[in-house]
């Protein structure tokens, strides 16, 4: 791997940036691997990287049906935070945030982590009580979080409509200062490059169409590029979770829904934090290019079409215009959707399955970008050791049998 630095930047500037070497190889699949990861999103690539780095397992392929990171990894609104209510989630998401904090250095790739803070608004007394309870729980887990008054919020976000006669008055809020954003593509590319450097084969445009088994054990994957034998298979396919599970006759508590986002035309800096309102389902941030990035909710019905419906956007924008009046004068440049894998308790499933050597990692739904490094880290452990790490043990498929659900619907209430 050629190291990226100020010197390589200068050297390549001289040749008009036309001679950068490729960031990863694009090999044809070998006949067999120790581990095959299905799904080349951030989580799959992170898993491959940590398998190589933490567990010395480098005979690994990541098999992706399209291009790297063009699933939800490249479609999300890039919000990162770890302010989850329950201990189980708090520990997992906090592990991920801590990994994010060192990631640019570790992977020698600028993922543009910007810890600009994540603000959640309260619009009524009930919101305020809920946020206070959550902040207390989060702080007991040693994670930063604080309550802000309406006055502090007005000072932090001047474009917010804090008038007492607003349709959605702002009574207060909670802030995680270590929260923020990172560049989503860069996270996928950085993990891909670092995994490749450790010997992982990244195979794009190769769809897994079947899972080979012998008795109760997995033996390989059938793909559009032929059969690839594998000692172990890790499935990290987000919205396509049920499709892959069906291949081994596994039923999942997951349903796939479109989740949408929009960006506006670029404007001068007006917002230097992330603002979310669970009650009216709006969240926005401003990108480095100046665009406002706005997130909407999911369509209520199941879908695998990567497009959402207009009523969802209208609903979100109506509330947004009231909260941030300047938005009414902005034109929206782009709108898109990703297919998110929603679990009944809004928590992921990361662990083993009844099929030996067949591991799953999905159900991150509307909010798994923030979990990318942590998810890869615990999943690599689970695959390498054939048992879950204590951090992902509570997130087994069996929790739906025991009833030990980790209900995080209120983690911030909004989808991201």
């Amino acid at each position: 791997m050629k190291k990226y630095s100020i010197f390589s930047l200068v050297r390549n500037a001289v040749s008009y940036h036309e001679r950068w070497s490729e960031a990863w190889r694009s090999p044809e699949p070998k006949g067999a691997y120790e581990v095959v990861i299905v799904g080349g999103g951030g989580h799959g690539l992170a898993t491959a990287y940590y398998l190589a780095k933490e567990h010395g397992i480098t005979n690994v392929a990541v098999v992706e049906k399209g291009w790297l990171g063009l699933g939800n990894t490249g479609r999300n609104t890039t919000i990162i935070r770890s302010n989850y209510l329950w201990d189980e989630s708090a520990h997992l998401y906090e592990k991920s945030l801590q990994l994010y904090e060192g990631l640019s250095q570790e992977l020698n790739f600028n993922i543009m982590l910007s810890q600009r803070g994540c603000l959640n608004l309260a619009h009524n007394q009930h919101d305020l009580r809920q946020l206070s309870r959550r902040v207390n729980a989060i702080r007991l887990n040693g994670i930063d979080s604080e309550i802000l008054t309406a006055g502090q919020i007005k000072a932090l976000v001047p474009i917010l409509n804090c008038s007492p006669t607003a349709r959605y008055p702002v009574l207060g809020g909670s802030l995680q200062r270590r929260g923020g954003t990172a560049r989503h593509d860069a996270v996928a590319w950085a993990f891909a490059r670092a995994a490749d450097a450790r010997g992982v084969d990244i195979i794009q445009n190769c769809e897994v169409t079947g899972i080979r088994r012998d008795g109760g054990r997995v033996t390989g994957v059938e793909t559009t590029k032929g059969l690839i034998k594998a000692g172990k298979v890790g499935v990290v396919v987000a919205g396509h979770a049920s499709v892959l599970a069906e291949m081994v006759g596994l039923r999942l508590p997951i349903e796939s829904h479109p989740l949408q986002a929009l960006v506006s035309e670029p404007i001068k800096p007006v917002l230097d934090t992330v603002v979310m309102s669970a009650a009216v389902h709006v969240y926005l941030s401003q990108s480095d290019k100046g665009e406002l990035v706005l997130g909407a909710g999911i369509d209520s019905y199941n879908s695998y079409a990567q497009r959402g419906s207009l009523p969802i956007i209208e609903h979100m924008l109506a509330a947004c215009v009231d909260l941030f009046p300047i938005v009414s004068r902005l034109r929206m440049l782009r709108q898109w959707a990703g297919i998110v894998d929603v679990c009944p308790d809004a928590s992921p499933i990361v662990g083993k399955t009844p099929v030996e050597g067949f591991y799953v990692n999905f159900g991150w739904g509307t909010g798994g970008f923030k979990a990318t490094p942590g998810s890869g880290w615990v999943f690599a452990y689970t695959i390498a050791q054939d048992r879950p790490h204590p951090l992902n043990e509570p997130f087994s498929l069996e929790r739906f049998h025991t009833g030990y659900l980790v209900d995080e619907h209120g983690a911030a209430g909004v989808a991201h």
Binding site: S242, I254, S256, Y301, Y304, H401
Partner: protein
């Protein structure tokens, strides 16, 4: 935007309806006899097919009645609308992705 043909009111905009999720999930006949995994299957496990999905909808802003819809989850095409209690019609659904 979906145009949903309510069996009682005719075609109306999607925004008048609420989606009730997967249809044809019968309540267990003898709940006390169920094991934990069987309960989990009834309560949580869903088909979530990439293909034809039979689901329940309610015309919340109209006649407020429930009915079944067979809809393709990639094209969103509505292939059939039928009343509660009626069996799902033949829609040419991929049987593998649509087992009951």
């Amino acid at each position: 935007m979906l145009l949903i043909p309510c069996p009682w009111c005719g075609p109306r905009d999607e925004t008048e309806f609420s989606c009730g999720g997967e249809g044809h999930i019968p309540r267990p006949a003898d709940p006390a006899a169920l094991t934990d995994p069987e309960w989990a299957d009834y309560l949580f496990m869903r088909k979530n097919p990439k293909g034809v999905h039979t689901e329940r909808w309610v015309h919340s802003q109209g006649c407020r009645r429930w009915f079944n819809v067979a809809r393709h989850t990639v094209s969103h095409e509505i292939l059939a609308v039928y009343k509660m209690g009626e069996p799902p019609p033949e829609t040419g659904a991929d049987s593998k992705q649509n087992r009951t």
